[in-house]
Symmetry: C3
Subunit: 263 residues, 3 copies
């Protein structure tokens, strides 16, 4: 029996995620369910996309990922299901699956999107405020039970994609951006280890600061030091040891981060 994961902005104090599990186990009593997080910042689609991008490579083939960051619920925005590589995705059509999709396309994996319009796989009563419960969870449970993707609706070719910034060549190396700031104040960037040559020689320029060289781990520097390191998703992160890089740098999502290659 496959795994279903849940990623939402319900907040961890909410009982919404519990309801989703009830709906799922009503239909597919043997699936395993993993909460990825319910603490996506409210309506922050980019953050949801990033969490899925980071987590999904570690799940088995056949896993069904339900994502509910859904500011458009109740409007005519579509619900979608997708097969991307060997895994499945169910949620609103608002870009939540963009980063996973871009990675799959870059590596030549097959992808397929369906517009959810077959109400026979939804709950009998569908509210205009909680499609996570009424539409996406039952669809995910039927998918996990072996229902073919085709059954849920017609194929579409135009899923919404987020405008995900991509690093570009600058005069001195690469220019990228801060794409997320976590609750510790660590900055995630769109720069990967592939953009960085010698980790000891690189200079990172962010706001008015320059960081010389990467550390392999926080323990190498005293508390309060601004450091760059390759994080567990193979991306450049900027942190302050035991502190907040966001506060230290007055940094925001979208700020420029430049990689300067020294000769």
């Amino acid at each position: 029996m496959p795994v279903i994961t849940l990623t939402t902005d319900f907040g961890s104090a909410d009982y919404g995620a519990g309801i989703l599990k009830g709906v799922i186990w009503n239909i597919a009593p043997k699936v395993q369910i993993a909460d990825l997080t319910h603490d996506i910042s409210p309506q922050d689609i980019m953050e949801g996309a990033l969490v899925l991008w980071r987590c999904t490579p570690y799940f088995p083939d056949g896993t069904v990922h339900v994502a509910v960051v859904d500011p458009g619920v109740g409007t005519p925005r579509r619900g979608i299901a997708a097969q991307i590589g060997e895994q499945y995705y169910v949620g609103p059509d608002n870009g939540l699956f963009s980063m996973v999709l871009a990675r799959a396309e870059a590596s030549g994996q097959s992808t397929r999107f369906i517009h959810l319009d077959n109400r026979s796989y939804w709950l009998d009563e569908v509210t205009s405020v909680f499609h996570g419960r009424d539409v996406f969870s039952p669809v995910a449970a039927y998918l996990a039970s072996g229902t073919a993707l085709d059954a849920f609706g017609p194929t579409i070719h135009d899923p919404i994609r987020l405008n995900i910034p991509v690093p570009f060549r600058s005069r001195h190396g690469w220019m990228g951006k801060v794409i997320h700031i976590d609750h510790f104040g660590n900055l995630a960037t769109n720069i990967s280890s592939d953009h960085i040559g010698d980790p000891e020689k690189v200079i990172i320029r962010v706001n008015d600061e320059r960081i010389h060289g990467l550390v392999a781990t926080f323990g190498e520097r005293p508390a309060g030091t601004l450091v760059g390191l390759i994080d567990s998703s193979n991306s450049l992160a900027i942190s302050v040891v035991n502190g907040s890089a966001a506060a230290f740098l007055n940094a925001h999502k979208g700020d420029d981060v430049e990689i300067i290659e020294q000769q």
Copy 2:
């Protein structure tokens, strides 16, 4: 194998819920366990009752719901188990199951309550501070494993009921109450969509404000607007778009909410 759910006021940072799972899987290794929430406000029985009322309809027949909001632990308050409709409930006898019970009675479902007094289904050592672990979890696990309700103790006919306010007819429509305020500041009321005629013509009076008409979803109004809408439990909720209705209205649990029907 059925599902067991957990609803407590332990706080999500606590390891208490983890212990309950250990106790349950020791007895019933194959049950699925869903956390509904562990963030019930400390000792807020009404909030626990409301969460159960909202969640339980989505769980399969045979589900066992464990609820531990238990200010009376260690006093002579009874522990109880119940069958309400096709699901089971285990916890302290303090009204936690009142709202589920009232709904079941209103729809003619059968209900049955047991006073937990058969210690052979409890842990060997029972503390005076943690009956969730020592009494309710093992009882739930045995129930989920097929032990008959009778085995746990004698039938009782007087479970504690909360004084749940019910809307009543006012001169202009219906008079109800705020029964819960969530952590976003949304107000939950005891008014359901059945109390409301034409959603475009209704006027909601709450504290010194009047709301004209219901919205179907938050997206219909700009940020900062006070709105009424039918929430995912078919109840009237009062919210401020991207804000806190509780702060906007200086609202508290128990405040009056009037539905005024326009001719």
Copy 3:
């Protein structure tokens, strides 16, 4: 299929625990996974040790406990797996399992420690920042699937032990310490009920206060009262009813707590 538990300092808003579940179910699709807590104070090894000590007795034989409170990740600190009594433990070699180990040794249970150095049980790519994902979770999944402890590396006899304070005899009774303060401000001590004679006659001295007699439960005293009670782990806890003992006493981890026996 056995149970795997997770205890980390990732924070409950993080998706790290979700990734661990993906890794585990990739290898061992049928194991049950229980989160003990992900809210260990960052890098607080003692708190992690205490949570394991409190929780593990309630889990079935064969349970595998993964603990990731790992300030030394990326440094040469060892990774270890252990059998302690009838349960298993996987994590960094930094003392996390000390309290469980000390209890097992005191009761004559067998214990065995392995240095994790067989990379064939790790993920293919091992980062220097996330051994919870890359090393400990896959090892735990293989352990739960029946791989023998020997397979993961050589036996060691010198796992790191925390310096856990033990109560000692004082002139008037026993002298112990505050070993943890929870998020409600309750003080946990290293004093157990075995150190206390008549619970009605005992005097507890902590900072400049004296508490006369223990209560069985909070309900016995009005809000704001400083009380001592035997908690659900059979240890002396010091609390303020509906308040914070830490704030009331200006108490800190390591503060002395004396048990004075009256004749």
